[in-house]
């Protein structure tokens, strides 16, 4: 949403002079609405103090270019009265905050999802105001979003490349060795033309002129030429191998670092990104870096050395001739500089198009059953074809730019040669240089421009690698939104008492949970009931700490979840999800996923308890049978029982069952249900199920509606109460689909 004002930096705090407050008046909360009443971008401050609500008149900061309009209006002020209320009307793209006195609308403000969190926090502080009047709240800084802001974009992609190159630090001595080898091989390759000079001037020309010269005088020069070639080859080999070794390691480290960092990121990172794009970043972008480092960078470096040395040699032989031959060189440099930016953008587009294409693959291959079931093979092929065409188009655009480089440099080198021959002829006639010198010059200058040409090719290669490096750094710069505290409190095995205190959670501007208060006793089984979208799964995700609540807190045994490390908490957590995921490996490995050190006896015990033991024994290799990516040849119920065994083996203090039986038939459900009944004994359990019969063992049923708890009680109590639960239950009982009555 580009707009004249949206790029203006958001001030963190309420400016001190924004409102004229009375002495001792304390700001409790402040936020900025980012739209004016016409829905145009315009920021204006709202502040809540212990005495009043203040609002900047929206018009004063409106207007194009961020220029304050000349009209000076005084801020609005509404004294806090008992009937003053704030309400939020949330719409998909816009939110509206309304201030009322009783039924009378005093004012309203519009805002975009960008500031939703701040506005909500403002309203929450306002709502909790009566209780807190005696206990002044810490002044809240206006902008401290719960979700960490997108990391600062790195200033330039070449910076990203340098950052990736810093992975070379552990290998700096090997790099140094490679550089020395490169230096040596470059010097060795400069020797031959230098030897041809005396060979022509002192042997060949005197001989042709009838002088007394024997072939033996030529031999040392020929031997020197041969030796230089061999030494240059050997050193070049060593250089290439050494630097290839290093670059392989740098790319490998970049891969590991990126992957490990990605593993540390929170779930919402993965839910907003496409699998194919992430795979492309870790696999092909790092490989591209490796190629760049091992081939282009080495080549560039030795070419640079060669160019410099050649220039030095040329000037030492004949400064005049050297000056003449190097005239086209600055032109080449200027050319390079002029198209760099265009190349960089072009290659970045190419990488994005490539990632899009990978995403199509990562999308359709796992979803192949859906594709086939709906006979959409040709459409998916078309989709891939389109993505592929975009790759071609993006590459074509940039290919036009970089491909004209090489021939152009060739043209310059031809011109350079022409200049040499021309000025060489003149200088020889003048007697200021010898034929040998001219020959050496021609040999040097041919090499010189060949190297310049390949150095110029380095420019697109660098931009390409820089685009890849930037895509890697983007992942490295993401911060987990659910982060470990700096100084985590130790958490032993919890007894499992969970306390949810005024939990609210929003996805963007949509409020999914609106103030959940629930106290779960250790060992209690809670069944979460409610229509789709009522917030059941979100609540379970919050208890798993896959997300943090937008406001409110969760404590386990009285310890706030935000104060303990994720790993120490999740170790005591077991999850059985709707879609059991089996990793590639044996059944035993899959069951022991949460505790790889488990003994075979423990694995068997868990499988027995999960009702999986007998079907496993009948597989050809028993517990050593391999299951593939999508669970191999196991049925849905069998996979589910393996995932229950997995949860059982970690012996969790807190168990989350998220629709664990909804994807299997009634008979299998009965088997799984028995397994689950054993699983929940003695653990705090949060179970979500659409089929209410599944929850018959729950100690309490919690009925959610629109993100609020509307009923709590036992099955029969809720039936008797005749509320939402009773209605849901009646619907399911008359519906033939759920087959197992409680």
């Amino acid at each position: 949403m580009p707009s004249d004002n949206s790029s203006a930096p958001l001030p963190d705090r309420l400016p001190a002079d924004c409102f004229s407050l009375a002495a001792g008046e304390q700001v409790l909360a402040a936020c900025q609405s980012d739209l004016n009443r016409e829905g145009r971008f315009s920021r204006s401050w709202l502040a809540l103090t212990d005495r009043a609500i203040y609002a900047e008149p929206a018009a004063t900061r409106a207007g194009g270019g961020g220029e304050p309009a000349p009209t000076e209006q005084s801020p609005h002020r509404w004294s806090l009265a008992a009937d003053l209320s704030l309400s939020l009307v949330s719409q998909p793209t816009l939110g509206r905050l309304e201030l009322r006195a009783g039924d009378h609308l005093l004012a309203h403000w519009l805002f975009t999802p960008a500031v939703t969190d701040d506005i909500h926090r403002f309203k929450d502080t306002f709502d909790s105001r009566p209780h807190r009047l005696s206990d002044p709240v810490q002044p809240v800084s206006a902008s401290k979003p719960a979700v960490s802001p997108p990391a600062e974009r790195p200033p330039g992609s070449v910076t990203a490349l340098l950052r990736v190159l810093s992975f070379a630090h552990p290998y700096r001595w090997v790099v140094l060795l490679g550089v020395i080898l490169a230096l040596g091989s470059t010097l060795a390759s400069l020797v031959p033309p230098y030897l041809t000079m005396p060979l022509i001037d002192e042997v060949l020309i005197p001989r042709q002129a009838g002088g007394a010269v024997t072939t033996s005088q030529a031999l040392p020069y020929l031997a020197g030429l041969a030796a230089a070639a061999v030494i240059s080859w050997l050193l070049g080999w060593g250089r290439t191998w050494t630097l290839a070794w290093v670059s392989e390691r740098i790319a490998g480290d970049a891969r590991i670092r990126t992957y490990a960092h990605m593993q540390s990121l929170s779930l919402d990172f993965f839910s907003t990104r496409r699998t194919g794009d992430l795979i492309a970043r870790i696999s092909s972008d790092t490989e591209r870096l490796n190629n760049y480092l091992s081939i282009n960078l080495i080549e560039f470096f030795s070419n640079l050395l060669l160019v410099i040395f050649t220039a030095v040699v040329l000037f030492s032989i004949s400064p005049l001739l050297a000056a003449v031959t190097l005239v086209p060189f600055p032109l080449v440099i200027w050319l390079v500089a002029s198209v760099r930016g265009r190349l960089q953008r072009g290659f970045a587009h190419g990488r994005v198009a490539w990632a899009d294409m990978t995403s199509v693959l990562a999308d359709t291959i796992p979803g192949i059953r859906v594709v086939k079931a709906f006979a959409q093979e040709s459409r998916e092929t078309d989709r891939f074809t389109r993505a592929n065409r975009r790759v071609l188009e993006a590459n074509d655009r940039v290919n036009v730019t970089w491909s004209y480089f090489g021939p152009l440099v060739t043209l310059f080198s031809e011109l350079g040669l022409l200049v040499i021959w021309g000025s060489g002829v003149w200088l020889i006639f003048n007697g200021s240089v010898t034929v040998g010198t001219l020959t050496a010059f021609v040999a040097y200058i041919t090499r010189f421009y060949a190297k310049v040409e390949s150095m110029v090719r380095m420019v697109p290669a660098t931009q390409r690698a820089a685009a890849s490096a930037q895509r890697i750094c983007e992942i490295l710069d993401c911060r987990p939104t659910v982060a470990d505290p700096a100084d985590p409190r130790p958490l032993g095995r919890p007894r499992g008492g969970i306390d949810l205190h005024n939990i609210r959670f929003r996805y963007g501007s949509r409020e999914v949970l609106r103030g959940i208060n629930l106290r779960i006793a250790p060992g209690e089984m809670i069944g979460l009931v409610g229509a789709s979208g009522s917030g059941k799964s979100t609540l379970a995700n919050l208890i798993c700490r896959f997300h943090d609540p937008s406001s409110g807190g969760i404590t386990v045994d009285g310890i706030n979840l935000r104060e303990v490390s994720l790993e120490s908490y999740r170790r005591h957590l077991g999850c059985v999800l709707q879609e059991p995921f089996l990793f590639f490996g044996t059944i035993a490995e899959n069951i022991a996923y949460g505790r790889p050190e488990a003994t075979p006896a423990e694995i068997v015990a868990a499988a027995r308890a999960a009702g999986a033991h007998e079907f496993i024994l009948q597989l050809p290799l028993g517990y050593d049978s391999r299951v593939g990516e999508r669970g191999g040849r196991l049925s849905g119920g069998e996979r589910q029982r393996i995932s229950i065994a997995r949860a059982l083996l970690v012996d969790p203090a807190i168990l989350i069952l998220d629709e664990a039986t909804s994807s299997v038939d009634a008979e299998t459900e009965a088997v799984i249900q028995r397994a689950i009944d054993r699983l929940v004994t003695g653990r705090t359990t949060i179970a979500i199920a659409h089929r209410l019969a599944t929850l018959r063992r729950a100690d309490r049923l919690v009925v959610l509606d629109q993100g609020r708890i509307c009923e709590i009680g036992r099955h029969d109590e809720l039936l008797a109460a005749g509320g939402i639960y009773a209605r849901l239950y009646q619907t399911q009982m008359t519906d033939p689909q759920p087959a197992t009555p409680p």
């Binding site: 075979p600 308890a609 009948q618 290799l621 050593d624 083996l649 012996d651 054993r678």
Partner: protein, 168 residues
Amino acid sequence: MPPDQSAATARPLLDTASCCFDELDDGGLVLITADGCRHDRVLVVRAFPLSVPRGPVAILDAEGRELLWAESLAAFGPRARQQLTDQLAAGEFLPQIEAIVSATRQSPIAWEVLTDRGRHRFQLATADAVVRHPDGSATVTDAAGICYLIPAVRQLDRRSRRLIERSS
């Protein structure tokens, strides 16, 4: 803390010492409990045939229900142990590859191998046909789903190892 086994199992399992076995003419095995109850054609399986080959053994009845569980064959008397070993040998089919004689270059890759059960030619499975294990062994799966074992890849001859490299 592993889950409690006794609570976990629906039916009580039989005691190793109280059972004896009888063989049928066609090689089937009958389990006879202490109280004389006969279970015809029981299935004797190893739970971890690859990772703990001498470890747990289970006996299932003809319907696949578990009757008996033993941590190893050593839990049985000498006679029963022999009967069970024979039964396992008859039921288990895990040829050990001793050498790979030849391998086709193009997919589908076919191997000709020498196994402890003789010379054999088969087509490799399309994905993950050769899986190496941390202990240095490897399992090979063919297109028909039959599993072969290579007890120690490093002890194969040079040629065989090269053919494995090429195919996996």
